[in-house]
C-alpha cells in the first residue's frame, strides 16, 4: 500500500501540511517497509490549478491513499476519478499518521473539505 502524505518537510518526523495542492512536500511512503520518497511540490506557489497538478502527480506516482489536512474540490474530483482514497483532517507527524493508517484509525473523506484556492495564501 503506497501512501501520499502532504508534509511540511522532507522527512517522516515532519508534521503533515494542512494543504494538499499547495503543500511543501509530498512524501510517498510504503506503509509496510516505511521506505519513502520526498518530492518538493512544484505547485507550492502556483497561481491556479495546484490541486489538479498535485493530483496528477499523486496518480502518476501510483499512490493508493492521500492523507492530508484539506483537499479542494478540483483535487478531490481528480483523485476520486483516478480511484485514489482520500483522508482529510490529518494532524500530527507523518510517522504517526502512517501508524494510525496501519491500525485502521482513519476515515476516508466523502467530499472536499475546502473551496478552491484555499492554501494560496491570499
Amino acid at each position: 500500500m503506497k501512501l501520499c502524505i502532504s508534509s511540511t518537510k522532507n522527512d517522516l518526523e515532519a508534521s503533515v501540511d494542512a494543504r494538499f495542492g499547495r503543500c511543501q512536500y509530498f512524501l510517498f511512503i510504503d506503509a509496510e517497509t516505511m521506505n519513502f520518497e520526498a518530492i518538493e511540490n512544484p505547485a507550492f506557489i502556483a497561481g491556479g490549478g495546484a490541486g489538479v497538478q498535485a493530483a496528477q502527480l499523486v496518480v502518476n506516482k501510483k499512490a493508493d491513499v492521500v492523507i492530508t489536512g484539506n483537499v479542494g474540490p478540483n483535487a478531490f474530483e481528480a483523485l476520486r476519478a483516478a480511484g485514489v482514497k482520500i483522508v482529510t483532517g490529518a494532524q500530527g507527524s507523518v510517522k504517526d499518521l502512517v501508524e494510525k493508517f496501519k491500525k485502521g484509525e482513519i476515515e476516508y473523506a466523502a467530499a472536499s473539505s475546502v473551496e478552491t484556492h484555499y492554501g494560496a495564501g491570499r
Binding site: A46, G48, G49, V52, Q56, N74, E77, A78, A81
Partner: protein, 366 residues
C-alpha cells in the same frame, strides 16, 4: 463649504529657464484655500524637439456647462480610468468625466463587477454573448498518453490510466492540448463566458461587459468589448482595479490613462505598481487624487519626484459619498464639478496633442 476641487495646470518642462511650470489656471471659488504653487512636469519628450507654443499645455477654464470640443483638428480620444488599488473612485471619475462631455462612448470594462450602470442608468438595447475556446475530449479516441495534461500550463486537464478529466474553470482556451493530441481526440469547442450589453444613457453610448459568475477569464470579454470602440466620439474606459491581465487588456491602446488613487499608504503602494504598468505600455498618464485630506502627502511627493502630472485633487466629501451610495454621480450633486472635469479633459487633450506632435503613436486600440 470646503468642497471645491483644484485642478492644477500641467505643463511639460523641456527647456530650462523658460521651463518654470506655472499653474496657469485653477478653479478657485470664493473663500477657497489657495492652491499650492506646485505643478508637475511631464516625462521628457525626445531631445532636440522644439515645442511649438500651441502645444504648451494649459488648462483653460471653460465655465461650467460649456463643452470642450477639442482644438482645431482634434481627434476623438480613448481615455482609460485605472488604478492600482480598488475602491479609489475609478467609476466615480469615469462617470463624472463622461457626463461632463457632451457626448461620448462609455465602456465599463470592469467585467467582474461592472457598476457604472448604477450611475448612468442606461437603457440596454443589444446583448452579445462572448465565448471562449474549450477543448472537447472524445474519450473513445483517447489513449491516455498524458500529452495534453503535460502541455497545459493551467493544469486544466488531468489524465489517468483509464480516464481523462477536464476542469473548464481552469482552462484559458489556448488550444495547446488540441495541437499536441496524437490521437486527435480533442476538438475545438466553445463555452459561453459572458455577455456584452450595449445601450445609451442620454447622449452617452454605453457598453458594459458582464463575466458569468464563476468564470475567471475576463480578458476575452474585454477584448470583444474593445472591438466595439467607436471612432466618431471620445471614449471613456472604466478599467478594473489592479495590474493584472484584465487591466492591461482594458487600457492598452488608449491615448491616455488616468490613474485614480487615494492619499494613503495603500493608495501609494498600488499607484506605483500601476505606474509601472502604464509606463511599460508607453501610454501617457496622469494622476487624480480622490478623497484628498484623508491620508498624507506622500502621493503628491511621489508624483513630484517622478514627474507625473497630478491632474486633479478631489477632496474627501461626505456629500459625494452619500450621493454615491444613492447612485447619483458627483457631477449631478455638484454641477460646478463639471467645469473641473472639462478642465481635466482639456488638460488631457493638450497632453495628447503634445505627444502626437512629437510623433508618439497613440490610440492603437482603434
Amino acid at each position: 463649504m470646503e468642497r471645491g476641487l483644484r485642478v492644477q495646470a500641467q505643463e511639460p518642462v523641456r527647456e530650462q529657464g523658460e521651463g518654470e511650470v506655472n499653474a496657469e489656471e485653477r478653479w478657485e471659488e470664493a473663500g477657497q484655500v489657495p492652491v499650492p504653487e506646485n505643478a508637475f512636469a511631464l516625462p521628457a519628450e525626445p531631445q532636440g524637439h522644439t515645442k511649438p507654443a500651441s502645444h504648451v499645455i494649459s488648462l483653460s477654464a471653460p465655465s461650467a456647462g460649456q463643452v470642450w470640443r477639442g482644438s482645431k483638428g482634434a481627434y476623438s480620444m480613448v481615455i482609460s480610468i485605472a488604478s492600482g488599488k480598488g475602491g479609489t473612485g475609478k467609476t466615480s471619475v469615469a462617470v463624472s468625466l463622461a457626463l461632463s462631455l457632451e457626448t461620448c462612448q462609455f465602456l465599463d470594462c470592469d467585467v467582474e463587477e461592472p457598476n457604472a450602470s448604477l450611475f448612468l442608468r442606461p437603457s440596454i438595447d443589444r446583448k452579445i454573448s462572448v465565448g471562449t475556446l474549450e477543448p472537447w475530449i472524445d474519450e473513445s479516441k483517447c489513449s491516455h498518453c498524458g500529452e495534453c495534461s503535460s502541455i497545459c500550463a493551467y493544469h486544466a486537464i488531468a489524465v489517468f490510466e483509464k480516464n481523462v478529466l477536464l476542469f473548464p474553470p481552469l482552462c484559458h482556451g489556448c488550444g495547446g492540448c488540441i495541437l499536441v493530441c496524437p490521437e486527435k481526440a480533442i476538438a475545438e469547442g466553445k463555452r459561453n463566458i459572458g455577455v456584452i450589453e450595449e445601450g445609451a444613457s442620454n447622449s452617452i453610448a454605453f457598453t458594459q461587459g458582464i463575466l458569468n459568475i464563476g468564470e475567471h477569464m475576463a480578458t476575452p470579454v474585454i477584448r470583444e468589448m474593445k472591438r466595439l470602440i467607436r471612432k466618431d466620439m471620445h471614449v471613456i474606459i472604466d478599467s478594473p482595479p489592479g495590474t493584472s491581465c484584465p487591466v492591461i487588456e482594458s487600457i492598452k491602446g488608449s491615448d491616455f490613462v488616468l490613474l485614480v488613487t487615494e492619499p494613503t499608504p495603500f493608495g501609494l503602494n498600488d499607484l506605483k505598481l500601476a505606474v509601472d504598468v502604464v509606463r511599460e505600455l508607453k501610454i501617457p498618464f496622469g494622476v487624480i487624487i480622490n478623497c484628498d485630506g484623508i491620508g498624507d502627502d506622500r502621493v503628491k511627493e511621489y508624483c513630484q519626484e517622478e514627474n507625473i502630472p497630478l491632474l486633479l485633487s478631489i477632496p474627501w466629501s461626505r456629500e459625494i459619498a452619500e450621493a454615491y451610495s444613492r447612485g447619483i454621480p458627483a457631477v449631478d450633486v455638484f454641477p460646478e464639478l463639471k467645469g473641473k472635469f472639462h478642465s481635466l479633459f482639456h488638460g488631457i487633450t493638450r497632453i495628447i496633442e503634445n505627444k502626437r506632435a512629437c510623433g508618439v503613436q497613440l490610440g492603437a486600440c482603434r
